[in-house]
Structure formats: C-alpha cells, structure tokens
Amino acid sequence: MFHIYCPHCEDHREEEEFHASGEAHIPRPLDPQSCSDEEWGEYLYFRKNPRGLHHELWVHAVGCRKFFNITRDTVTYEIKEVYKVGEKPSVTSSEKNQ
C-alpha cells in the first residue's frame, strides 16, 4: 500500500491510480520559431536525473485525470510535498544544478 495525495480530489489514493509524467516546470519556449536546434532539443529531450530532490509532474490517471506536481526524493522515494500546477515548490534543494 502506497498512498499519494491528490490535491484536486483532496484525498489520499492508491499509487496505481497515478502515472508519473516526468520532470516538472519545463516551460515551452515562447517563440519556438526563433529557437536554435540546441535550445529546441534541450526543451524536447533533455531532462534532469538528480540523486535526491526532484520536482515531478504526475497525473491522477484513474481518478480526476488532472495533473499536479510532486517534490520527491529519488533516493528514498519519500514524497516531500504535493502542489498544483502553477504553484511553486516549497521544498527545494540547496545543491547546484537543481
């Protein structure tokens, strides 16, 4: 049993109702036409793979079907916080490159 809190349903739900959707907070370039290949490639394909705190996008797939963010420790799998899309994380790493 592993429960994740959905901020939209305001309820703890079984992990199998959720899907992870990768790194959170990746803004789409405002003017894609003027991006260099490298900038566009970074946006499309390159993701962090930190050991420790990671801000991730999750979706409550079998439920309200809404997306939200999770700050999670990739070493311990501990979920530090759950927050809605558009909000900022309150738990952040002090390490560089985060």
Binding site: D11, E14, E17, V62
Partner: protein
C-alpha cells in the same frame, strides 16, 4: 467577428441519442449489458443472497464541464436541474436528477433517458461563455450492487477504502475497479452504484458474477 462567433455556437452538434422510429422499423435501444440477458437470468436467480445486482438501463448521462468560478454556469445548472453542483467527491440529488463530482471542473449528471436531450438544450440556452455539455448516454451504464455483502465485493475489487469512516453514503470516487476503472457511488448503507464504460461493462459483469458467488448472487432485472 460577432457573426462568426454566433455561427460557431449554432454549429455545436447536439444529438438526441434516443432511437427514432423510421418507416415501419420500431425504435429500440440496447443497454451495454443487453447481451447478458439479465431478464432471463433473473427469472432463474435465487430469491435471497448476500449481494443483489441490477443494471439501471438507458439513463441519460450528461457530462458537464465548466468553472465553479463562473456564476452563469452554476446558475444555469441550478435553473435547469434545480441542484447545486457538488464539491470534491460529493454528490447532489434533486428529484430524478443526480450530479456526481468527477474532477474540479467536471460533473456527471444522470437523468431519465427520455429527458437527456431536452435538458441538454435547456442548459445550453441557460448558459453562455466557456462550458461543455456532452451526452454520453450510449457510452456507459449503471450497475447497482446491494445487500449485506456488497461491501465485501467492493473490497475485493477496488484498492479504495470503502469503510464507513472513509466512504459515507453520498460519496463518489473514480477509482480502479477490477482491472479497469469505475465511478463508485455509495447510494445507501448497503447499496452502491458502479458507472462503467460500455466497452468494459461485459468484463465488469463477468467479474462481479465471479466475485459474488461466495456470498450468493441475486440478479434483478
């Protein structure tokens, strides 16, 4: 500009999903569990058992989408259905209509099948701005589970906690059910409703029959 906006509104497809009489053909509709022939099964079913199953056929299912910050959306629903849209995991009952919360901007409303089309039209004329109403009546069905052991069947079928403390009468959740998903609504102390997709209804029905065997299954038509 205003002309094109007006013509866009005119072009929203509204379809009455009820079959119409064409020529000498009699109209008929088949519920998702039509093939299971619950009428015949119920005639041979035991009179008493721990769980009773019944399909509530051919209701009107309307999906409403809009913002709870949109006063006109809320008042349009209230004007036509006479109910306030419920908050997270809640339901709202008004006469023959019931609204279930599905997501922060989405509700499922069940109405008598014959009224769905008219209610959709009434709501469309009572609202403006950003909202959506989709008639999904043909796409899903309602299966009622009741009896002393209905809760035990749910415990085998969903990871969600169905204990009284967590799942009081009136609560509704969309969760995993068997290996598919269902909207699960507690309609009474010993009665539950499952709303399942048409294409999964046969699977859910077969699952339920198997899961109910140990408690004694009564099939109602």
């Amino acid at each position: 500009m205003s002309d094109s906006t007006a013509s866009n509104v005119e072009s929203i497809a509204q379809m009455d999903q009820l079959p119409h009489k064409t020529g000498s053909l009699q109209p008929r509709a088949e519920s998702p569990l039509y093939h299971a022939d619950l009428a015949t099964l119920s005639a041979h079913s035991a009179d008493a058992g721990g769980v009773e199953i019944k399909e509530v056929k051919l209701l009107g299912h309307l999906v409403l989408r809009g913002s709870i910050e949109d006063a006109e959306f809320l008042s349009g629903v209230k004007e036509v259905l006479g109910l306030d849209l419920p908050g997270p995991l809640q339901s709202s009952l008004q006469g023959e209509f019931i609204a279930y919360w599905v997501s922060p901007n989405e509700w499922l409303v069940l109405v008598p099948g014959q009224q769905a089309f008219q209610l959709e039209r009434d709501m469309r004329s009572a609202m403006s701005g950003n909202f959506a109403i989709v008639n999904v009546s043909g796409g899903q069905t309602v299966i009622c589970l009741s009896g002393a052991n209905a809760v035990d069947v749910l415990k085998k079928s969903t990871p969600y906690d169905v204990h009284n403390k967590n799942f009081p009468v009136g609560k509704v959740v969309t969760s995993v059910f068997a290996k598919t998903q269902a909207l699960i609504f507690r309609s009474g102390p010993e009665s539950w409703e499952l709303i399942v997709r048409r294409s999964f209804s046969d699977y859910v029905w077969l699952w339920l029959q198997d899961a109910c065997i140990e408690y004694g299954l009564v099939i109602k038509d």
